[in-house]
């Protein structure tokens, strides 16, 4: 296969609002036909970036192209190839699902007959055909979000920009949305989604980009990022809480940092420096010290751990780079 052109190419983008810097020279690329997740804490610059990609905001500096089209020079052409949804683009609650889709299709500049036909097709894909002629107000949260996220499909955009698509959904509706999004990707859609939920990124994304203070911190597949941490968390439950301090001393050589103890639960947990062999080593050490073990588990790092680890390092790095 040829090395594909990225569908989204962001180079050195800056954006400030007054004295607040939202994006600080961010560069990243998004591959076509994949799900890319943009992770970051509140205020990291995720929404600003989505709004720039959606041509709602102009960057102060840098270059952004979508499908090779410059968002600043040819915003209208960009609007033909994107679909925006989520936190910042909504549907009209008093209109029916079908009326909403037809309106969006018309605003994608489709003739009336084609708009009606395309809307019927998209309603089918959204599994909303039965509810199509009811006002959106009567929809469940999950149905409404599906319509919201899927509305721009009537314009057959090449990229869907989803700003926190599952914000405010209950767990069942969130799972339903995820399966819908996976279905879209299976049909070849390109998604760029922002999220604060690491579980969501882990579930959906082929590529994860973590940004902080408007700059890139790290990127890769979820597996690469987790493997990059090179540790696992070992948790041991003892039969006798009185022996916790002794157990902590015994396990110290294996641990990256001092083991954490939880007295009432008689539990002790620590990050093992090397992933392989830490669990049997812990059992051997405790056995050798004559401490009775009830249960031992090893947990691989989650994307949460990645997030905490890289953001911790990132802020330390910033401090090093700019001494006061």
């Amino acid at each position: 296969m040829l090395a594909a052109e990225p569908i989204i190419d962001i180079a050195g983008v800056r954006k400030s609002f007054g004295r607040t810097t939202a994006l600080d020279g961010l560069s990243m690329q998004v591959a076509e036909g994949k799900v890319s997740a943009l992770l970051g804490a509140n205020g990291a610059g995720k929404t600003t970036l989505v709004r720039i990609l959606a041509t709602l905001l102009r960057p102060d500096a840098g270059r952004v192209t979508v499908a090779g089209i410059d968002v600043v020079r040819r915003p209208v052409a960009v609007r033909h190839v994107i679909g925006l949804a989520g936190q910042h683009a909504a549907v009209d609650q008093t209109l029916t699902g079908r009326e909403n889709l037809i309106m969006v299709a018309r605003l994608y500049r489709l003739p009336a007959a084609q708009a009606r036909q395309r809307s019927a097709e998209v309603l089918e894909r959204l599994s909303l055909t039965e509810a199509a002629d009811r006002p959106v107000r009567t929809y469940s949260g999950g149905m409404r979000r599906r319509l919201d996220v899927g509305a721009s499909l009537v314009g057959q955009p090449r990229v869907l920009l989803l700003d926190e698509p599952s914000a405010g959904l209950d767990p069942a509706a969130r799972l339903e949305l995820w399966s819908f999004l996976r279905g879209l990707v299976a049909q070849g859609a390109t998604l760029l989604l922002t999220t604060q939920q690491l579980e969501e990124a882990d579930h959906l994304a082929d590529a994860v980009t973590i940004i902080d203070h408007g700059a890139l911190v790290t990127e890769g597949t979820p597996e690469q990022l987790k493997a990059g941490l090179g540790y696992e968390t070992i948790e041991v439950a003892l039969a006798d809480p009185a022996r916790l301090p002794q157990a902590a001393r015994v396990l110290e050589p294996l641990a990256e940092r001092s083991p954490q103890t939880d007295g009432p639960a008689a539990r002790i947990s620590f990050r093992a420096r090397r992933a392989a062999g830490a669990l049997p080593a812990a059992v051997r050490l405790l056995d050798g010290a004559g401490i009775a073990v009830e249960d031992v588990t090893a947990r691989r790092p989650s994307l949460d751990d990645v997030f905490i680890s890289v953001l911790g390092r990132a802020s330390a790095g910033t401090a090093d780079a700019r001494p006061a």
């Binding site: 076509e32 008093t94 009326e99």
Partner: protein, 272 residues
């Protein structure tokens, strides 16, 4: 989805796209209004109630030289209706901004102005409905057109021009506040313009220091232009100027308001 052709269809005429999408948005707004009619019904019927109330209360007390009080009052109710309808416009836009609908519209390849012109058109439609009701009620309580058909058509045209121009002021209000309650709190300003005017009483009866403002502020100028166009040359003595002068003054106010507030609105709109 990925392999489908880009639907970039350069419109032959950008104006045609703007017109088509203005109608799409206006229809959406009117559907919205039809399904949540409470506020719209109040807005559309309020000129009728106001008219009947004012006529009952003031007709005996206020003497307008050369005109019946009803003939004097009805054109002013039509302008008042533009202001009340405009506040609805502002509220509708504020709600759309808050709901994220404006973001959706701005991310679509529709002409940038369409969401605004669509709102302007749907509100014009509601205002014309309210005007028709007010005129019908007015005729029932004694209002008559004393000018020719052409002049009355010009009156309708001027009313539409006033509505389209004032829209930009209310659009700026809606987009800058983004909050129906804040818009509600600005109504005293509009009441000032509606009441410190020639709407209900001839300006000569006001305290002297208020007369300059009351006679020349836009609401009064619009009122008098509509009175001149609906009542014919006979009304000129009561209005103090001939029809041409009053209409020219009204059109000048429209142009000024439209240009200034359209510029402000567009600046705000691009930064939502």
């Amino acid at each position: 989805m990925s392999t489908l052709a880009v639907t970039a269809r350069p419109d032959r005429l950008p104006a045609a796209a703007l017109l088509a999408d203005t109608v799409v948005i206006a229809r959406r707004n009117l559907t919205h209004t039809r399904r949540t009619p409470q506020t719209a019904v109040a807005a559309v019927t309020s000129p009728v109630l106001f008219l009947i109330l004012m006529r009952l209360v003031f007709a005996g007390a206020i003497h307008v030289p050369g005109m019946t009080y009803t003939d004097y009052l009805v054109p002013a109710m039509l302008i008042q209706n533009v202001v009340f309808g405009g506040l609805q416009s502002a509220t509708g836009l504020a709600l759309d901004v808050n709901a994220g609908l404006i973001d959706r519209f701005r991310s679509l390849p529709t002409p940038v102005l369409a969401p605004l012109t669509g709102r302007s058109l749907s509100d014009l439609a509601l205002q014309l409905l309210a005007a028709a009701l007010a005129i019908t009620a007015g005729v029932a309580v004694g209002f008559r057109f004393h000018a020719g058909a052409l002049s009355c058509l010009l009156a309708a045209g001027l009313l539409i021009l006033v509505s389209l121009s004032m829209f930009w002021l209310f659009a700026a209000l809606g987009i800058s506040t983004r909050n129906p309650e804040t818009i509600q709190s600005t109504t005293p300003v509009f009441f000032l313009f509606l009441f410190v005017s020639n709407a209900f009483i001839p300006v000569a009866t006001l305290p002297r220091w208020l007369q300059g403002f009351a006679a020349n502020q836009p609401v009064s100028v619009f009122n008098n232009a509509l009175r001149a166009l609906t009542q014919g040359p006979g009304a000129a003595p009561a209005l103090g100027h001939d029809t041409t002068y009053l209409v020219a003054a009204a059109v000048a106010w429209c142009a000024g308001i439209a240009v200034v507030f359209a510029m402000i609105t567009l600046r705000l709109y691009k930064r939502i």
